[in-house]
Symmetry: D2
Subunit: 344 residues, 4 copies
Amino acid sequence: MIKVGIVGGTGYTGVELLRLLSQHPDVEVDAITSRSEAGLAVDELYPNLRGHFPGLAFSEPDPERLGDCDAVFFATPHGVAHAMAGELIGRGARVIDLSADFRLADADEWAHWYGQSHGAPDLLEDAVYGLPEVNRDAICQARLIAVPGCYPTAVQLAALPLLERALIDTDHVIADCKSGVTGAGRGAKIGSLLAEASESMKAYGASGHRHLPEIRQGLTRAAGKSVGLTFVPHLTPMIRGIHATLYGRLTHEPGDLQALFEQRFKDEPAVDVMPPGSHPETRSVKGTDMCRIAVHRPGGGDTVVVLAVIDNLVKGASGQAIQNLNLMFGFDEMEGLYAPALMP
Amino acid sequence: MIKVGIVGGTGYTGVELLRLLSQHPDVEVDAITSRSEAGLAVDELYPNLRGHFPGLAFSEPDPERLGDCDAVFFATPHGVAHAMAGELIGRGARVIDLSADFRLADADEWAHWYGQSHGAPDLLEDAVYGLPEVNRDAICQARLIAVPGCYPTAVQLAALPLLERALIDTDHVIADCKSGVTGAGRGAKIGSLLAEASESMKAYGASGHRHLPEIRQGLTRAAGKSVGLTFVPHLTPMIRGIHATLYGRLTHEPGDLQALFEQRFKDEPAVDVMPPGSHPETRSVKGTDMCRIAVHRPGGGDTVVVLAVIDNLVKGASGQAIQNLNLMFGFDEMEGLYAPALMP
Amino acid sequence: MIKVGIVGGTGYTGVELLRLLSQHPDVEVDAITSRSEAGLAVDELYPNLRGHFPGLAFSEPDPERLGDCDAVFFATPHGVAHAMAGELIGRGARVIDLSADFRLADADEWAHWYGQSHGAPDLLEDAVYGLPEVNRDAICQARLIAVPGCYPTAVQLAALPLLERALIDTDHVIADCKSGVTGAGRGAKIGSLLAEASESMKAYGASGHRHLPEIRQGLTRAAGKSVGLTFVPHLTPMIRGIHATLYGRLTHEPGDLQALFEQRFKDEPAVDVMPPGSHPETRSVKGTDMCRIAVHRPGGGDTVVVLAVIDNLVKGASGQAIQNLNLMFGFDEMEGLYAPALMP
Amino acid sequence: MIKVGIVGGTGYTGVELLRLLSQHPDVEVDAITSRSEAGLAVDELYPNLRGHFPGLAFSEPDPERLGDCDAVFFATPHGVAHAMAGELIGRGARVIDLSADFRLADADEWAHWYGQSHGAPDLLEDAVYGLPEVNRDAICQARLIAVPGCYPTAVQLAALPLLERALIDTDHVIADCKSGVTGAGRGAKIGSLLAEASESMKAYGASGHRHLPEIRQGLTRAAGKSVGLTFVPHLTPMIRGIHATLYGRLTHEPGDLQALFEQRFKDEPAVDVMPPGSHPETRSVKGTDMCRIAVHRPGGGDTVVVLAVIDNLVKGASGQAIQNLNLMFGFDEMEGLYAPALMP
């Protein structure tokens, strides 16, 4: 049994950590912090947790208490982990950051996209990008994990087999992504109201979204050279789920694409390559840490289409964070993450 | 480890049994039947189950194989359990029927509401109405369980404390209920299309719904006298969930209603009485076997309002069926049913 | 052609006034005010209006300009019309207030429910409650209209025929109401987020909602004596629509209820009594000024159930405001309000 | 005043024709046919139309009566217009076909995609593809109109300015489209149930959809040479709306793309080019015949992204059909189509 802390527990990724950890036999939540809700029992804010964490209340962040934990999750806006991670690591805790603070290897690029200087550049070389399908060994040893963003998780998993084998034109990769509204967090924004976001579809950030450099960095690593990516996210009228539709131009005859994908992910517990001809639905992964993928080659032409679905709050955030935790502490990689999706 | 069979597994209560049983450590699904889909792997129909039941496929119903199971669930339209339950019980299986076949104690009333004669009146005296909050001891011994309907579960739990203490006028009990569309099953009906049922609200069956006699029977048992019930169900644009709003007229000063409800359900693992002033949300029980209840007395007047929420597919069907199974086989009553609701 | 002004035009009732007035041949919108958005073109905030009001932008409220209008709508939070209505009336404009400021005849009761003293008690005797089905003649002559609230419109129309004929027990009237989320306005509240309000159902204000005294006042007028009302509103996962389910106990044999309702509303252009056995859907009135009603007497017993649906933003707010305007200025009562509902 | 008939009026495009025509001052609906619902009043099936078409009921299709109409709409599955259009034209009616029967100029290609031989190849040379933004003059003179499909309308309008100016690589055009569920029609299919299609997103037909050849034909006409198109439609959890996201690779410096689009559509009453940086929402055109478009060039690179939204039942079907009717009979092109979208 290990002890964990959660910094910034009132948002959607925070409560999702609690929901998932309630089913984890080897983890005890010792502290969950929130400056705004300090003192409030967690199940007053989230009645679905009634009975699951008796006595657990939000508290002011206390570095000493958090530092005593075996691991600390940051479910915070960007900038917070910058300020606290170093001290907690110094006290012996391992840090799993769900925010964007350590996702980009280049502090200047981070500063460019986030509009402020990087707060902990010295930690960057210790930070491991927490995509198990790419970095499993490094994750096991890491003291600081940057959990990938939701779009980056889906797009990278869709693209990796093609880029690693150099099958597609790296100058023109297109990722058309559709996300449920929880991707925008729990902030009270007019655009996220049911009355505004329901019964409608729209793109956003078509000219540049903060996940673009993260995805580009991951694809570039996979390809071994710079990747030109067009990434357009769309707001979809549903609570959870990301559907990534990836378009690549084949540069030569690729062989059996289905076999390629199956082979690439055959030992991956959180990736499911669907049968040929499939169209994965986001609901088939709702609440789970699974990514389901299908690969198509319409008309046998030179465009390959990859469809990948995840739950943005699970494989795209809190579930993947726990998958990292499991690897770091030697638990079964999917411990606490076994339950199938709610469907319908 | 016990072996169970599921008859009629393609509908929503069938797949929900599978989803929940996948998390049950002591149950193995030996057979799942469907005449229309025989031969199809269950995870082809329900991709959320990929990896959870390797090799399990729908099969033609085979009384011999089902009779060898320790327990058989019926997740079928009415009439099917009538035809098969007797034989399976004779072969030693215990039967847990999620359909309406054995819910009404009076075969003539059943025939009246279901438009056909009762197919197994001789089994009625063995049938136990599977509401653990009322019949726990009988359930433990039962060979044949009639799992309560979804509306009846919510309304009875809301009304029991008031009726058992004879606090309200039994001639005029009103149950205004709101249900998600899965209550109508997986049949391809125009009225259940997203394009028809979304962004709208309507009552149905205002002049008489098949759950009316079942609820009335339960309330009458609790009150010890005939109860005059007005029950109006409403179709709500959501997938899962029932919200029952119960109105009763207090016949005398009732004392502390909050304490009454808390006391009535204090040992019930599947009922949660919320703090005073609460308004339970259906999403707080989504995917779970929990019923959350709040009691109000507006303006301190003589009308009591009880709000009760359940997931119609879980506490209103498959979860309650497993709660019965657990009692029948001596497992922890909530085994397999511990996970908190998905929220948001 | 008359000139109108709209005070507080950025909210949902404001934009709905614009949408409807764009189809009104005899009305020109001269000014629309908003302190927070002054200077912004209306179609930048509401792109559905692109091309319909060229040049119209939000402006600071200017009593002189507004006072020059033939009519001024207030689509504001409570308290604003209190402060401005008197002056505008003095300048010759007729005022149609969509807020709650003049709905309650008793200034003390208003102060009790709204937590502040009434700002214009001297205007109360001039204020006409703008429910055409009750006050048509007075509306035609009025200088100041209090447009009824959304719940009060639906509940009163459902109850009037029964109360006017003294058919039901006035001590125990129950109105169980279900509303879409636009009833909560365009404010950025967490509870109104798609991620929070979608896929869920809950009651709110069960112990007392601000519409309670307004409904009670209307029912009491109709009954000619005090009415004991229990009113429980529910938040429903849809954008628009109110479904009111009214329960009354018949005190004596009522005769033909269907005929009673048809007779009561036969000359009402905004009320549609559906055929016997109907269950009106909120979507059948979406975007329209219509109220559809059905009356049921389950099992021929002594409880009457009335189902009434409106669009909360139209018959429950902006459409009814225009219906009042039409009456005040001698236009066809439904001018600008003829279009059928969008369905599906 | 002209007289029109509607063949196959029970589906969504049929009722949408009625909804829109109820606001058209110069059109009278003389007959609406349905074999399955003959005898039923239209407002029994569609209560939103109560009061709008008194006396209008579905009837068996009668070529004589339909032939007497000035125009006949076909709102039917494919194959029906093949069988009837010739006779009606012979009787003097002009035919506006909302089905796919006359959309493809090549009868063999039609046969390939629709799995049956073309039923009226001799009429093909008279058929005019009813996209006013391309074929306005021909439409005015036409006796037979093939109303474009929903996806084809959105994709063509998005792509035309680029292809007509030869700005993009015609070998690799990508159209990633998202549609509400009414695109699948009113058929009772399990996949269209609220319980199945809500709270989820999925692609379908990724390897080939019937709208592909129609779009390709239109793009090829615009480009003056064969266009290689990848078209992936996605089922989106909403009732109405299509969002087309078009990706093209610029083959040379294109100049001011915003100006190009504004210029191309400046006289088009049904196309609205949004300001630079816009992201059109499908709800901004709900219920209207408008297409809103925005053009982006992310990072100033060589990929152009065009976002186009329509209501699939209006500009994508019934509204565009009426736009054609207006042109054919010399009415204002947007007569009956002026109302702004319902928003929220």
